[in-house]
Symmetry: C2
Subunit: 290 residues, 2 copies
C-alpha cells in the first residue's frame, strides 16, 4: 500500500432506517479513526457516530464497521462515507428524480470532486414488505440502481445490499411485514443477476426492542459482512467466523495523538470536560509524544 495515498475512497449510503442506523450508541465502543471520513456540507470531516442524521433517533449503523474493516485492508488510505439514507422510505420514495434520489446523486457528485467513488451500500425493504409491494421489488430496484450508476457515470460501481432481519415478523410491527422473505429473495436474485452486485444475509442478527431496527452490535457485524462481500466480490450468505474478532480489532485500534486530541476537544465542546482539564490533558498528550 502506497504511503503517499491521499485519495479518499468513497461509499454512498442509501436506503431506509437500518442503513441510517438506529443501534444505541451506548451499546458499543466508538469507532474513531482520522482516516475514516464522512461527507458534511460537501466536505470531508472525521467520522463520528451517528453518521446519518435523518431522525433524532439516529444511532449506530453498519457503515462505521464497514469502514473499519476497509481500513484493516487499506492501512495507509482514507475512506469517506456519504450519508443519504432516509428512515421509513419505500422504493417508491426512492423514485428516480424524486428528492431522495436527487439529493443522493447531488451529494455523491460533490464527493466525487474530492474522492474516488468506490461503492454503494444499500439497506431497504421493510417498507416494501406488505400490500403486494414485494412483487415489484426486483424491477424497481434494478431500475433504481441502473439510474444511480448512469447519473454518477459509474456503470461498474459495486452495489452491496443487505437482507432484512428475521426478527421482523415477530416484532411490534410484525403483522405488517408479511412479505419480508420475498424482498430478501428479490435482493438476492438482483445480486445474482446483476454485475458487481452482492447480497449480504442478515442471518442471526438481532433487533432493538421495537423488533424493527438492528441493534448496535448487529450493525457492527453487518458492516463486517458488507465489507467481506465488497472485498471478496461474493455474496455473504451467513455469519462470518471472525466477526467478533474484527469488531474488537476495529473498536480497540490504538488512537493516534491527533485522534486523542480531537476527542478531548469534542468532550470539551460538549461541556463534558472543563477548560482546565482539557488543557491539562492536552499538555500531557503533547509531553508524551514530544
Amino acid at each position: 500500500m502506497d504511503r503517499e495515498d491521499h485519495t479518499v475512497y468513497s461509499f454512498l449510503m442509501i436506503g431506509q432506517s437500518n442503513m441510517a442506523g438506529r443501534g444505541y450508541v451506548k451499546d458499543v465502543k466508538p469507532i474513531y479513526d482520522e482516516h475514516i471520513k464522512m461527507l458534511v456540507n460537501g466536505r470531508w470531516q472525521t467520522m463520528s457516530e451517528p453518521i446519518n442524521f435523518d431522525r433524532p433517533t439516529s444511532g449506530i449503523g453498519l457503515a462505521a464497521s464497514f469502514a473499519g474493516a476497509w481500513r484493516i485492508k487499506n492501512e495507509n488510505s482514507q475512506i469517506g462515507l456519504i450519508p443519504c439514507a432516509e428512515g421509513g422510505s419505500s422504493l417508491d420514495d426512492w423514485e428516480v428524480g424524486g428528492p431522495l434520489f436527487k439529493n443522493a446523486v447531488f451529494q455523491t457528485k460533490l464527493a466525487q470532486h474530492i474522492s474516488s467513488l468506490s461503492g454503494i451500500l444499500w439497506h431497504q425493504g421493510e417498507n416494501d414488505s406488505f400490500g403486494g409491494r414485494s412483487g415489484c421489488y426486483f424491477d424497481k430496484l434494478k431500475n433504481l440502481v441502473a439510474a444511480f450508476r448512469r447519473e454518477l457515470q459509474a456503470p461498474d460501481i459495486p452495489f452491496i445490499a443487505g437482507g432484512l432481519g428475521d426478527f421482523l415478523s415477530s416484532g411490534r410491527y410484525g403483522k405488517y411485514f408479511t412479505e419480508y422473505n420475498s424482498v430478501n429473495n428479490a435482493l438476492h436474485q438482483y445480486a445474482e443477476t446483476t454485475e458487481n452486485s452482492y447480497f449480504v444475509a442478515a442471518s442471526d442478527l438481532t433487533a432493538n426492542a421495537d423488533g424493527l431496527h438492528f441493534d448496535a452490535i448487529s450493525q457492527r457485524k453487518f458492516g463486517i459482512r458488507y465489507f467481506e462481500a465488497f472485498f471478496s466480490q461474493k455474496n455473504v450468505l451467513g455469519p462470518l467466523n471472525n466477526e467478533n474478532e474484527l469488531i474488537n480489532r476495529i473498536q480497540d485500534k490504538p488512537l493516534t495523538r491527533t485522534e486523542k486530541a480531537a476527542l478531548l476537544e469534542i468532550s470539551f465542546a460538549l461541556g463534558e470536560l472543563s477548560l482546565a482539564d482539557l488543557e491539562e490533558q492536552l499538555s500531557k498528550l503533547n509531553a508524551l509524544s514530544s
Copy 2:
C-alpha cells in the same frame, strides 16, 4: 390567519458554528412543534434539536426559537428550516461555486419545490476576525448574498445577520479574534446599505466555557431577536424587553396529542422507554383525547 394554510414558509440557515448551534441541549427546555419542520434528504421532518448536524458537537442554535417566535405570529401556518451551516467556515470557504455554497443552493432548491422561501439567516465571522480578513468582509458578504439571491431567483428575500459576541476577545481563543468589531461593523453596514437586510446585535449574550460559542439560553434569545428583525423589518441593536417571556411561551407551548405521541415514539426508539411503558402511555393518551 387562514386555517387552510398548508404552505411551508422556509428559511435557509447558513454561516459557521454559531448558526449551526453549539449550545448544550441539557441547558434549555426543548422546542417541539409539529408545525416547525426541518429539511432532511429533501423532505420536511418535524424539527428536533440539534437541527444542523455539521459536527458531533452540534447543539442548540438560534433557528429553533426563531421558528417558535415565527409560530406565535403565524398560528395556523408551518415554518421549515434548511440547515446548511458549517463549523469553522470563513467567507472564503463560502465562495460562490464552492461546496458550501453549492450545497446550500441545492438544498434550498429542493426546499423551494415544497415551500415558499421566506428568508436567509446568517451568522458567521469569527473566522474572518484576524489576519486582516475583516477588511474584505463587507465586499465578500455583498457578493455572496447577491449570488444566493440570484441563484435562488429570490432577489428580495430578507437576509438577517447577527453580530459576533463581545465575549470573543476574552475567551480561550481571544487573542486570535482581534478584528471581531470590524466584522460587526461590516455586518451592520451591509444591513444599512442593502435592501431587505437586517442586523441583529449580540449584546449581552454569553458563551460556553470556550468563550467562542453562544450558550443555549443566549441562542434562544438570539433567535427571538432575529425574528424581531425579520418581522419588524428593522435592525435590532440590543436586547428586547420580552426575550425571556417569549422563550418561556415558546418552550412551554402545550403539546398536541400528535406531538406527545411522537415524543413517546422517539423515547422508545432511543431505548429510553420500554415497549410496555410506551404502549401504556400511548393508550392513556388516546383515552384522554377520545
